[in-house]
Symmetry: C2
């Protein structure tokens, strides 16, 4: 990770939604394009659980970002026109304060002493970054995956702060299947003997549990249909004659192993646990006397809900209800259902499907 990102420190005590506080937390962010004189061309991206603020390349950091093909001059989020902002979520580990950060009050790493993290905290801390940039009203908030939830929290608590909203493969609250998946991922990490109740040496993290969790993640981020086309029953070419009869034999096993290796070293285990639990806890209905009541507090002019047919974490029927609720409170809402085969991750990898949808929304 380069240090191309900028930071904002929120001075003083930052009160957390479920109690407790953080002393002067830091938020890391990156921006692309130029804020116009009217200060009304800002597009704020709330990311999924794992990315940093490096959504796209920049002069300071030319490496490709996690949404590289979406952001830039002439891209769907056209930086000749818009000022795009991505923030590393509070609780993460790429420059923003999280469980892996040092608590300035104690000089110790927070670890499990970090207060309960929620989408509302991610939203509120991000709002401070937006204010710091001198923006009172954003052109749009875009929330991808978990970011759709933090984006909703942002918009419901600051209804005047944004004129349009894009939810990509997200929801108003997690379904029990998604909770079960994340619960098991957390348990895999917590059962790793190296986790040590969160007190692991940062150079000796619970990698085994993290790898297992990542493999389960991949099973829910992609789709069975994709794997059927891509791997079928193909075997790995280089199955070493180790005599390990339970070792890697099928290509799909090798694929999962490679993904698990790549991710696990890069993300702090405790941060992962906090962000994962925060995704379970969010329930938009808490922002009103009912779910309808919460929706009634939103004041977008336009909304776009993008759903992927093969997404098993945030399935299409959930997206349809989400769009229906938005439309019911009067925002000009469009629901786009994409028949991508790459599941929940399609917004990251299926640019042929996603670019035109994002482009159309921001061109109109």
């Amino acid at each position: 990770m380069s240090a191309a990102f900028k930071t904002v420190t929120i001075e003083g005590r930052f009160a957390m939604y479920r109690g407790g506080y953080l002393e002067s937390p830091t938020l890391a962010y990156e921006t692309w394009g130029v804020l116009n004189v009217a200060r009304d061309n800002g597009i704020l991206i709330f990311s999924g659980l794992s990315p940093s603020a490096h959504a796209a390349a920049s002069e300071q950091d030319p490496s490709a970002g996690w949404w590289e093909e979406m952001i830039g001059p002439g891209s769907p989020l056209d930086t000749d026109q818009f000022f795009v902002i991505a923030v590393n979520s509070l609780g993460s580990c790429f420059g923003s304060t999280g469980p892996a950060s040092v608590n300035p009050e104690t000089g110790q790493i927070y670890r499990l002493k970090f207060p309960v993290l929620t989408m509302e905290d991610i939203a509120e801390s991000t709002h401070r970054v937006v204010l710091h940039l001198g923006i009172e009203r954003l052109h749009a908030v875009i929330g991808c995956s978990m970011g759709g939830m933090s984006g909703l929290a942002y918009c419901v608590n600051h209804p005047q702060a944004c004129s349009s909203f894009v939810s990509i493969s997200s929801c108003t609250s997690a379904l029990p299947f998604s909770i079960a998946v994340r619960s098991l991922q957390r348990e895999m990490i917590r059962r790793d003997p190296k986790w040590l109740d969160g007190e692991y040496d940062p150079s000796e993290p619970p990698l085994m549990g993290q790898r297992l969790a990542r493999k389960l993640g991949m099973m829910t981020y992609r789709s069975a249909r994709e794997w059927e086309q891509r791997f079928g029953r193909e075997r790995v070419a280089d199955k070493s004659e180790t005599g390990d009869q339970f070792g890697i034999e099928f290509s799909v096993e090798s694929y999962l192993q490679n993904h698990a290796e790549k991710f696990s070293g890069a993300f702090d285990a405790n941060c992962y646990l906090y962000l994962s639990r925060a995704s379970d806890l969010f329930d938009f209905a808490e922002h009103g006397s009912s779910l309808e009541g919460a929706f009634a507090r939103l004041q977008f002019d336009r909304a776009l809900v993008i759903s992927v047919e093969t997404d098993i974490l945030f399935p299409p029927h959930q997206q349809r209800e989400f769009a229906k609720s938005l439309a019911a409170v009067g925002s000009d809402t469009k629901l786009i259902e994409l028949d991508c085969i790459r599941g929940h991750d399609s917004f990251l990898v299926d640019m042929d499907a996603f670019q035109p949808v994002i482009r159309d929304f921001f061109a109109s």
Copy 2:
């Protein structure tokens, strides 16, 4: 487990499909009803990965079996008419020889010295039980889940030994998603420090890994739709104030925990690994020059393929292809697609849907 089952010992060396042999292996089985004089009323059930031969109550063992409501006088598998046989699969641990058994040649538990297990071995050893019972031609073979694969292996290697075939939520070879799920389940067990490369003390098994594997199992045996209706975002009533912020909070987490506790102590970890891998390895196409060639060797009069809409391990499109292949080689094939919400496990728990289908097939 009671010892109501009977056993057959296959005298001498039993050659395994992928090499190696077992010395005089034992097969445990139970039967219900009476074999008629013509010896042509036998129905053989191949079970899924985990059950014992105790499919239903009997005089010797009045406890409920795993398919209790399907077998008995007047039941869909009517024991007033049929002689029903269930065998504990070779490689399992409920009376049949498997990795947890003692190798008579060494006096040691087989553990990982058990030869590679395949569906063909399960089929062939089961065939010996059928011959022992004096049956040359069965009225039907029924295969549930994994049992559909061992059932196919049985029928292709003994085409004259069975006149009709019922496949329930099974396949001709596993899809990569199912392989990925089982691969991760095996890895969870193998990464448990107590697994000790299979050399665990039977009184100190790798329970933690087994519990994790069972939780993932439940996610694929049931369905997201069922859990949405059944649990939603319901919380557990008795969330103890342990201060464990990552502990069980949602009802779906508690449900998984209860299932994991129940199963894990009962099934030997090494046996699980062998049966799980055997499910990945099976490829019916190996029994011919092509998949079509393998199907052409079958000689059923009638076949029934039952598919469940919410089954993510053996999804409907796979069942349709299976039925199409059976019909193409001239057997009178019926495909029944059930819209059960309880996923892959529906055949065990949704009797309202399954009883009439099985009843109709055997009444006609």
